[in-house]
Amino acid sequence: MINLDSKVPEGNLSEKWMNHKFNMKLVNPANKRKFDVIVVGTGLAGAGAAATLGELGYKVKAFTYHDSSRRAHSIAAQGGINAAKDYQNDGDSIYRLFYDTIKGGDFRSREANTYRLAEVSNNIIDQCVAQGVPFAREYGGTLANRSFGGAQVSRTFYARGETGQQLLLGAYSSLNRQIKLGNVEMHHRREMLDVVVVDGKAKGITVRNLLTGEIESHSAQAVVLATGGYSNVFFLSTSAMMSNATAAWRAHKKGAAFANPCYTQIHPTCLPQHGEGQSKLVLMSESLRNDGRIWVPNIVGEKRVVSDIPENDRDYYLERRYPSFGNLAPRDISSRSAKYACDEGKGVNGGRSVYLDFADAIKRIGEPAVREKYGNLFEMYENITGENPYKVPMQIYPAPHYTMGGLWVDYNLQSSIPGLFVAGEANFSDHGANRLGASALMQGLADGYFVVPYSIGNYFGSEKPEKVDVKGAEFKAAEESVKENTNKMLSINGKQTVDDIHRKLGNLLIDKVGMSRDEAGLKGVIKDIADLREEFWNDVKVVGKADEINQNIERAGRVADFLELGELMAVDALDRDESCGAHFREEHQTDEGEAVRNDADYAYVSAWEYKKAGEWELNKEDLTFESVELATRSYK
């Protein structure tokens, strides 16, 4: 049994964070340099945390498997970042951002965490502007905002379609400053393969040097994992090729509970798959839905080209079913609707894609205005598909994109292993069962800049963790187990490549644990994944040697972990016998196909405790809501 004390502070919702900060134990400035912290991952959360911890005076060691800390996948976020600044005077507030976020997550997130996220959102914008992030501006020189992904206020800050890049480069610049000042020691091309726990506390990590294959141990008094999400479990997703769950998963196997693994977001506006050889899916910013209209032909088996399909034979299904939100309906609804349309055979040319049409927008505001708003996205589309979206409607289809689930953390973002903190997409905390657009950047930076640096100070101040030596038995044992695992994979010498097996896993998951799930399918897929795992460990072929640059070994290790995580996703989805957010159980829907939540039985966080491969124990953290009524999410 894992202790799931959420450590939510006392007080009114709006006072909790303030009270908590006041009650935290502080570390004397002169003593800070005596504490060291390991930060794994240098995306928004990791770079933000490493830089800020360095600024505070702690000794930081940061790790990334990239050649540079600027390459983390945060960089690919396009649309924007939310904040409750209310610069547009349209009635926004911290409470409204909080409410939208918790409602968007279908009331499956921890109220206090979500409120804090909304609360620090404003500081993030200040921080990023001060870093020199060139956000979009109005002619008068003030910051511009747009409405985004299901919000009825304009609270999204953006830098063309490259907001993630600009924010990450901002965090990267702060990190660089600390590296230069000697407060952060940067370790590139290291992949974390284990977390080392000494006397019940996280005290270090085991990494593989990706250039030499050497297994190294690093110790510190606290470890922060900011290692991103696990969408790549689906093989085809919008995540980067190297994005993986290994760091989080190895921590899970060392005792960190994994929460809500079945909450995976399938993003509605991605480019459709072009063929079998496809390696990843590409996302087109959701901001396109502000002006683009989504439709499919009304007639199954429509053969006419777009321009020949009259208005009457087009089904603008989102506008029809959700008149008030229309094309801006939340991601899960939008994605599922596209899936159903294609299941019915109404997809473009009977295939798996729907139209995203800008003809009306071009008529309304003119092509130059459309170009000004979305030019780079249109260019990217044309580049990839060879079609000009100013002339022909885009074709889109949903793709796995973000994982709300992740390592369980308390209000301090500490996992169930003391001293192990988890930030950004890697944790489960703020988005509940579904994430709203432009909230991922917000959460990554909130955790990195404004939460982890405080709570680590509190941990040091109250727990006073001892320094340990990397020569200790626990480190040696971790190194040995990592080496053993690698050698085992190399020795199998079977017939299937790592990608072959990964692709099979992806097909199983997207089919049965994707946009909609049902009991029979889940029960079947749990067995199928277990079988596939057997197949991997008996029939995989990994080439090359352990002590050299070997991208095959890197991928094999990640897929081995996905094969365990994939099963847990299905186990979790089976346990959660309700529909909520991105988790849609066929058994629980209204006659009109809307999700039916079950607050009486399922208002809890599922925190899974690892027992052995294929076996977990469910721990529940009950979600209590002091400030909000659990409304039925309706976007009609």
Binding site: A51, T52, E55, H66, D67, R70, R71, H73, I75, A76, K85, Y87, N123, D126, Q127, A130, Q131, G132, V133, P134, A136, R137, E138, Y139, G141, T142, L143, E162, Q165, Q166, Y172, S174, N176, R177, K180, M186, A240, M241, M242, H274, G275, G277, Q278, S279, V282, M380, N383, I384, T385, G386, F450, N493, K495, V498, D499, V542, V543, G544, I549, Q551
Partner: protein
């Protein structure tokens, strides 16, 4: 989206490490015109792995042209023949049936080959660490709207800030100069009020770091701009030159 496959001969550079002698490995392949070049590599590697051979080492990550991880020289051109496109965004429809494609790693003294098409670009990070930031600590920022910034300045700064740090400018330059890369960051901050306090120290420090990292000097051939996947303008280099000149006059040291 169904068209006939095209047949290609790929001559791909293989090299064990920085000091080893490299050679071209030849592969004949038939590919979908809708596949990306890197997907062709994925498939080649999958086949090599099946045969128990070492796959071709190359780097890529986001495959959306924004992370800057990928980079190959394709028929003599960094990121290939399509303008404003990173290697990962290069699709096979841009090649002709029957074509032979030569693929080499980025070459520069500052970018030693690690293996096959993977090179070490750490010099670029060193340059950024020398001054590519605004010095302030988390929490000390004023309200985001406290300083108005003209739309033009913000837009020009973003043009420069779009640099993805891939190193194609270096690979394209006959002098292996990274000046386009340096100037993109120098310009971003020179154009914004936030960057003014350290404007002249920054340009000095970044230029020195550039020179010390083994990159060559800019001789204004503008090959960098032509090959930059983000189309970063050489006007940034001019701005940096000017700032560098002024910094020498202004600074007290």
């Amino acid at each position: 989206m169904k068209e006939h496959n095209i047949n290609l001969t790929l001559k791909i550079w293989r090299q064990e490490n920085a000091t080893a002698k490299g050679y071209f490995d030849e592969f004949k392949t038939s590919v979908s015109p809708h596949a990306s070049l890197l997907e062709v590599f994925d498939e080649l590697n999958n086949n090599l792995e099946k045969e128990g051979k070492d796959p071709i080492v190359f780097e890529s990550d986001c495959r959306e042209g924004i992370c800057g991880t990928c980079g190959m020289v394709i028929n003599g051109r960094p990121h290939g023949n399509q303008t404003k496109t990173a290697t990962c965004q290069l699709h096979m429809r841009t090649f002709k049936d029957g074509e032979t494609i030569y693929i080499e790693p980025f070459k520069a003294k500052a970018f030693p080959v690690l293996k096959d098409l993977m090179v070490d670009r750490k010099g670029l990070d060193v340059i950024q660490q020398a001054g590519g930031y605004v010095s302030f600590n988390t929490g000390s920022a004023p309200d985001a709207n406290a300083i108005p910034i003209s739309k033009t300045a913000a837009s020009l700064a973003l043009d420069a800030a779009e640099c993805i740090g891939c190193g194609a400018c270096v690979a394209a330059c006959k002098n292996s100069s990274a000046m386009l890369f340096v100037s993109a960051k120098v310009s971003q901050f020179a154009l914004l009020p936030q960057g003014q306090a350290e404007r002249y120290e920054r340009v000095q420090n970044m230029v020195i770091a550039h020179d010390e990292s083994g990159f060559g000097s800019c001789t204004n051939t503008y090959a960098c701009e032509a090959e930059c996947p983000k189309g970063i303008s050489v006007s940034n280099i001019a701005r940096m030159n000017r700032d560098y000149f002024v910094s020498n006059m202004k600074l007290q040291k």
